[in-house]
C-alpha cells in the first residue's frame, strides 16, 4: 500500500502548514521532448499509441502532436499489428485485443529513429465491489476536498509483485490524476484501494466509473513515479520510461475491468 509510506509526510505538512500562496517564478525552459504513450488491453478497447511533445511551463496545457510515425506492435507469438494514424498524433488498431500472459513489443519509427518497449499482461483484473467512504484515511488532510473516497475492492493474487492502476472518470471526465497501488506490504488478501477524487467535489447523481488495470512492474514503477511527482514529497525526477531512446511516456499492456457507481 503506497498510502502507508506517504502517511507520515502528509501528516507532518498538515500540522504546521499555515500559508499557501501562488507565486511567480522564472523557470528555465528546455527544448521540447518526445512523449510516447501506448496502451494494449484485454477488454476490447482499441489499441492506441499517442505521440506528442512537451511544452514550456508558462504555456497553456495543450500539447503539440507528432504526425507521420510508423507504429507497430508485435506479440510474443510473432503476430504483428500495424497502427494507423486515426487523427494527428493518435495511432490505433481496432483488431488487436490483449491476451492474459502475453508480452507485447511496441516499435515506433520516427524521423529515422526507432523507439521500442515491451509490456506483459500479467493477470485478469476483477473488481469485487465499489464503496463510498466519507471518512477514509486522509480525508481533510489535504488529499481531498470532498472528503469522499471511493474504495475499489479486488482480490490480490497470491504472490508478491502484483500492481494495480485505477483510472477514474467522473461524469465521463477523466480526473486528471494517477492512482497506483502494489501488494508490497501485504500479499494475497482482499485489497481495498481508496481513490481520492482530489479537487472534484462529488454531488448526488454523479456517476463515477473506476477502471481497474493490472499492470506490469515497469509500468507500475513509471506510474508510481508520476504519482510521487504529484504528491511532491520526493525529489522531483522524470520517471524512468519503459520505452527506449530517452523519451517521456510509457507503454502498458494490461488487463482492465470497469465498474460504475452513482453517488446518492
Amino acid at each position: 500500500m503506497k498510502q502507508l509510506a506517504i502517511i507520515i509526510s502528509v501528516v507532518s505538512l498538515v500540522i504546521f502548514s499555515s500559508c499557501e500562496k501562488v507565486i511567480s517564478i522564472d523557470l528555465e525552459n528546455v527544448a521540447a521532448r518526445l512523449v510516447i504513450e501506448g496502451i494494449v488491453d484485454d477488454s476490447g478497447n482499441p489499441t492506441k499509441v499517442t505521440i506528442g511533445k512537451s511544452s514550456v511551463f508558462s504555456a497553456n496545457n495543450s500539447y503539440p502532436k507528432v504526425s507521420g510515425a510508423a507504429v507497430k506492435i508485435i506479440d510474443d507469438l510473432g503476430n504483428m499489428f500495424l497502427l494507423t494514424e486515426a487523427k494527428t498524433g493518435t495511432y490505433t488498431n481496432a483488431s488487436l485485443t490483449g491476451v492474459i500472459g502475453r508480452t507485447y513489443h511496441l516499435i515506433v519509427t520516427l524521423e529515422g529513429k526507432t523507439y521500442t518497449a515491451s509490456s506483459t499482461i500479467t493477470r485478469k483484473a476483477k473488481i469485487d465491489s465499489l464503496v463510498i467512504d466519507d471518512n477514509a484515511f486522509g480525508s481533510g488532510l489535504g488529499g481531498s476536498d470532498s472528503k469522499k473516497w471511493i474504495g475499489v475492492s479486488y482480490a490480490d493474487p497470491i504472490g508478491f509483485g502484483d500492481n494495480a492502476q485505477v483510472v477514474q472518470t467522473i461524469n465521463g471526465r477523466h480526473d486528471r490524476m494517477t492512482h497506483v497501488a502494489d501488494d508490497f506490504y501485504s500479499d494475497g488478501g482482499s485489497t481495498q484501494f481508496f481513490i481520492t477524487t482530489g479537487k472534484i467535489k462529488l454531488n448526488a447523481g454523479d456517476t463515477v466509473v473506476e477502471e481497474l488495470r493490472f499492470v506490469d512492474k515497469g509500468v507500475y514503477r513509471y506510474l508510481s513515479g508520476i504519482q510521487n511527482l504529484a504528491d511532491g514529497n520526493t525529489i522531483p525526477e522524470n520517471p524512468n520510461s519503459n520505452i527506449s531512446g530517452n523519451v517521456l511516456g510509457f507503454f502498458s499492456a494490461h488487463s482492465s475491468q470497469k465498474k460504475q457507481i452513482i453517488i446518492r
Binding site: L13, I15, N29, S54, F137, S186, S190, L248
Partner: protein
C-alpha cells in the same frame, strides 16, 4: 613590567633548570562551590617565573606537574570568580577547588563566551562551545530554548529547514552529525517531526561541537560531533527549577544523595502542542493526539577519592494519533554507566557501558487493511578511555570501544485482509575501535593534536545477503548463520590539527582529518521523518569516507573584547548514497537494490566576529560555501548541487543587558535558498499534465531571512523569598517574512489549462511567553 619579567627569567632561567629538583603532580577536581557541579574546561594556571596551564576534562578532573617550589595557582571559568591561591608544592597533592559564581549584576555584564584567548592558543580547530548562559537569552521559536537551534546560528552550521532542529555541517547530511548525550548516540535528535530537539536544556551542562579537527576519540560520522554532557545534580542542597511555556512545561529537581559525595538530577518536559495547533481542526475522525515528553535522569557517587560512578539516562517519546485510523509513537532511550578512576596522579581512566535505542511504531487502518509497523535501531557499547598527563607539554589520550549495532528497519505486518506480509530482516554489525591522540606543546608558539583511529566494522549474520545487478535486480543470495561475518571493513582515520601563534593575540591553524561513517540514514523524502531508515554498511554499502583539510586565522582585538576567526575548508567525500527514481525505502528488505552511489565535495569560507564583553555581546557570522554530489545514474553522472548547498549564510546575534534584570536579544538570519529541482517544461501523460525536469537541484528557493526578538526580565529579588523567577518574551519572525518551506507546481484549480507555482510557508509571526522559576 613585562620587560622586567623577561630579563628576570632570562637571567635566572638557566640556573633553575639545572637544579634538577623533583617534579610533583597536583591533581583534583574543579567544582561550582555552591552546587558541587563539576566544571568542564576550567583553566588552571600555575606560575612562578614561568606559567604552566591545563584545562579540566569532561569530568572536572585536572592534573598538572611542577617542580618543587612555591607557586601561584589561579583557576578560572566563564561566569565564575577567578580563584588565586598560593601553593607550596613539595609532594603529589590532590586539590578539589570550588569556584563561586559571579554576583548577578556582574555576571550579565561580563558574560564572555570562552576563556579570553583560548581560541588563539588551542590547537584544535573547527570547535565551538555553546555557552549555556548565552543560550538562555537567544530567541527561539515558541520560546523553547534549544541547543540544536542555537548551533545553527554559528558559521558552518546550517538549518535543515525553517524551525527545524536538523542541521547540515559544512555541507554534510543531517545524518552525518554524531550527537552524543553523555556518550550515548542519539539517533533521532528531534521531536514533533523536527521542530524541537530532544535536548531539554535545563538538564545540560556543557555542549562542544566539532565541525573540523575532530580529535581521535570521536568517530562514526562524517561531518560533526555534538558532545552534550548532562548536569550531575546539586551536591549541596535540594534545588528545584522549571518553567511554564507557550507550548511546553518543564521541571528539574536535583539534590545530594550524600552531601558532597553524590547527587542526582531529574529533569522532565512535556509539550501540549495538541492543545491549540492547527492540527486540531475537526476532520470528523475522532480524537487527535500530538505531544512529546522527555525525561533526563542522572546520579553520581564518589566511592573513594579516586573512584566515582555515574549513571545517566534519557527517555523521550512522541505520540501522534488521528482517531482510530492512525497512530504513531517514536523516541530515543539512552543509558550510560560510567566509572572514573585516577591511576597515580596523572592517569585518568573512564570506563563506560552505553546503551542507545531509537524505535517507532505505527498503526494505520487503510480501508479494510490494518497495518502495524515496528522499527528499531539499538547499540550496545563498551568503552575505555585513558587521559594521561605526561607532562605539562604533553597529554596522551587513548582507548577503545566495541559497539554492537542491531537494526530492525520497519517491519510491516497486516492483520485484517487475510494477506501475508513480507518480513524485513534484522541486521547486526559490530564495530571495534582503538585510538590514540597526543596533544603536544611543541614550543611557546606551536601546539598540536595528532592521532590515529583504527576502526573495523564486521557485518554479521544471521541473514540472507543479496547482490544486485546495475538495474537493482537480485543476482545472488547468500545465507549466513548467526554470528558469521559477512564482510569486514577496516579503516584508518588520521587526525591532525596544529596551531601557530603569531603573537599573543594572533594565530593560524591547520588541520587534516579523515572520518568514516558506517551507519547511513536512508530517506528519499525532501523533509525528514521519523520513519527514515538507518542501514549499516554491508556487502553492498561501503563505508562513507570524508577527508577534510582546513586552515584558519584567529585574532583578538581591542583588548580581547572582540575575537575574529576565519576558516577555509575543503572536504572530499567518497561512497555517498542516493536513490533510484520511485525508490521503495520503507519496509523493504531489498532497500539496498534502490541505492545509487557516488562521490561529493564541499568547500567554503567561514568568518566570525564576536564581541565577548560589555553590555552588548554577540556575533556576526558569514559563510560562503558549496557542496556538490556526483552519483552514477543521477543527473547523467555529472556533479549536482546537494539540497543543502546554500551559497551565502549570514547570522547576526546581539544580546544587550539593559538594566535591573532586563535583557534583550535579537537574531537575524539570512540564507540563500536550498538547491531544488524546478520544472523546465511540461507534457501530458495518462490524461494529466506532468512536469518535465532536467538537471537535479539546478534551481533555488528564494533566499530566506528572518528577525527574531526576545526579552528576559528577572523578577525583583526579595530577600525573604527563597525562590526567584523570570519571564521570557519572544517574537519569532518579527516582520512576518513568508519563507518557502515547499514550492509545488500544479494545475490551476479554476482553469486546468494553466499551471502555477504555489509556495507553502510554515511560520509567520509567532509570539511566545515563558515563566521560569528556581528555588
Amino acid at each position: 613590567m613585562k620587560l622586567y619579567f623577561l630579563l628576570f627569567s632570562l637571567a635566572l632561567g638557566p640556573i633553575s633548570f639545572s637544579q634538577n629538583k623533583p617534579i610533583f603532580t597536583i591533581s583534583g577536581t574543579i567544582k561550582d562551590a555552591s552546587t558541587g557541579e563539576t566544571l568542564i574546561g576550567a583553566s588552571i594556571i600555575i606560575s612562578d617565573r614561568k606559567s604552566k596551564s591545563t584545562f579540566s576534562n569532561a569530568y572536572g578532573f585536572y592534573s598538572i606537574n611542577a617542580m618543587e617550589g612555591t607557586y601561584k595557582m589561579s583557576i578560572s571559568f566563564i561566569g565564575y570568580v577567578t580563584d588565586t591561591l598560593s601553593l607550596l608544592i613539595d609532594r603529589n597533592q590532590q586539590l578539589v577547588i570550588g569556584l563561586h559564581t559571579k554576583p548577578a549584576q556582574l555576571e550579565t555584564v561580563i558574560v564572555s563566551s570562552k576563556k579570553k584567548n583560548e581560541h588563539i592558543a588551542r590547537p584544535v580547530m573547527g570547535v565551538d562551545k555553546l555557552n549555556m548562559i548565552e543560550m538562555n537569552n537567544i530567541p527561539v521559536i515558541f520560546g523553547e530554548k534549544d541547543i540544536l537551534k542555537t548551533i545553527q546560528l554559528m558559521p558552518g552550521y546550517k538549518s535543515a529547514g525553517e524551525g527545524n532542529s536538523g542541521f547540515n555541517v559544512r555541507g554534510g547530511g543531517t545524518d552525518q552529525n554524531l550527537i552524543l548525550l553523555d556518550e550515548a548516540p542519539v539517533y533521532n535528535a528531534s521531536h514533533l517531526l523536527g521542530f524541537f530537539s530532544t535536548f531539554n536544556s535545563d538538564a545540560i551542562k556543557d555542549v562542544s561541537i566539532y565541525k573540523g579537527g575532530m580529535p581521535a576519540q570521536y568517530g562514526g560520522r562524517l561531518s560533526s560531533v555534538v558532545d552534550i554532557k548532562m548536569k550531575d545534580g546539586n551536591q549541596k542542597k535540594l534545588s528545584i527549577e522549571g518553567g511554564l511555556g507557550a507550548i511546553a512545561s518543564r521541571i528539574n529537581v536535583s539534590a545530594p544523595i550524600v552531601q558532597d559525595k553524590g547527587s542526582f538530577i531529574i529533569s522532565a518536559r512535556r509539550t501540549y502542542a495538541d492543545a491549540y495547533l492547527l492540527f486540531l481542526k475537526d476532520t470528523g475522525q475522532g480524537k487527535q493526539t500530538l505531544y512529546f515528553y522527555d525525561l533526563n535522569l542522572k546520579a553520581n557517587y564518589r566511592i573513594t577519592k579516586k573512584d566515582k560512578v555515574f549513571l545517566s539516562g534519557y527517555f523521550g517519546r512522541d505520540e501522534l494519533g488521528l482517531g482510530d485510523q492512525f497512530s504513531t509513537d517514536w523516541g530515543n532511550k539512552t543509558a550510560t554507566l560510567r566509572w572514573n578512576h585516577v591511576f597515580g596522579n596523572s592517569i585518568f581512566s573512564n570506563t563506560s557501558l552505553i546503551y542507545s535505542n531509537f524505535d517507532y511504531n505505527i498503526g494505520a487502518t487503510i480501508g479494510n487493511a490494518k497495518f502495524h509497523v515496528a522499527s528499531k535501531i539499538e547499540d550496545l557499547n563498551i568503552k575505555q578511555d585513558f587521559d594521561w598527563n605526561i607532562g605539562n607539554k604533553s597529554k596522551l589520550r587513548f582507548g577503545g570501544n566495541f559497539i554492537r549495532h542491531t537494526i530492525a528497519p520497519g517491519d510491516v505486518t497486516e492483520t485484517n485482509t487475510g494477506g501475508v506480509t513480507r518480513p524485513v530482516q534484522t541486521r547486526h554489525s559490530e564495530e571495534s575501535i582503538v585510538y590514540a591522540s597526543h596533544e603536544w606543546k611543541a614550543s611557546d608558539k606551536i601546539e598540536m593534536v595528532y592521532g590515529l583511529r583504527l576502526s573495523n566494522l564486521a557485518v554479521k549474520g544471521a541473514g540472507d545477503f543479496f547482490t544486485y545487478d546495475g538495474a537493482g535486480n537480485i543476482i545472488s543470495t547468500t545465507s549466513y548463520a548467526k554470528g558469521k561475518t559477512v564482510i569486514n571493513y577496516l579503516n584508518l582515520e588520521p587526525r591532525f590539527s596544529a596551531s601557530y601563534k603569531l603573537s599573543e593575540l594572533t594565530s593560524i591553524k591547520a588541520s587534516y582529518n579523515r572520518n568514516i561513517q558506517n551507519l547511513h540514514l536512508i530517506t528519499n523524502a525532501t523533509t525528514g521523518s521519523p520513519t527514515d531508515v538507518w542501514l549499516s554498511s554491508s556487502n553492498n554499502i561501503k563505508p562513507e569516507i570524508a577527508d577534510q583539510v582546513a586552515v584558519g586565522f584567529y585574532k583578538n582585538l581591542n583588548e580581547e573584547m572582540f575575537d575574529f576567526s576565519s576558516e577555509i575548508y575543503y572536504k572530499a567525500l567518497q561512497n555517498q548514497i542516493d536513490y533510484r527514481n520511485a525508490a521503495v525505502i520503507f519496509g523493504n528488505d531489498n532497500v539496498e537494490s534502490e541505492l545509487l552511489y557516488g562521490t561529493g565535495r564541499a568547500y567554503g569560507v567561514e568568518l566570525m566576529m564576536r564581541k565577548k564583553s560589555g553590555r552588548l555581546t554577540g556575533w556576526i557570522g558569514y559563510t560562503l560555501s558549496k557542496v556538490e554530489k556526483k552519483i552514477e545514474g543521477i543527473n547523467n553522472g555529472n556533479y549536482f548541487n546537494a539540497r543543502q548547498d546554500r551559497t551565502h549564510d549570514i547570522s547576526i546575534v546581539g544580546m544587550y543587558d539593559v538594566n535591573k534584570g532586563w535583557n534583550v536579544s535579537a537574531t537575524w538570519v539570512y540564507t540563500t535558498g536550498s538547491a531544488v529541482t524546478f520544472p523546465t517544461g511540461k507534457y501530458e501523460v495518462n490524461g494529466q499534465t506532468v512536469f518535465l525536469y532536467s538537471d537535479r537541484n539546478a534551481s533555488r528557493f528564494p533566499a530566506s531571512h528572518r528577525l527574531d526578538l526576545a526579552a528576559t526580565v528577572e523578577a525583583r529579588k526579595n530577600k525573604d523569598r527563597r525562590y526567584h523567577s523570570s519571564w521570557t518574551f519572544g517574537l519569532y519572525n518579527v516582520y512576518g517574512r513568508q519563507n518557502a518551506y515547499t514550492i509545488n507546481f500544479r494545475e490551476n484549480n479554476d482553469d486546468p489549462s494553466k499551471t502555477e507555482a504555489v509556495r507553502t510557508s510554515l511560520f509567520s509571526i509567532i509570539p511566545s511567553v515563558t515563566w521560569n522559576f528556581k528555588f
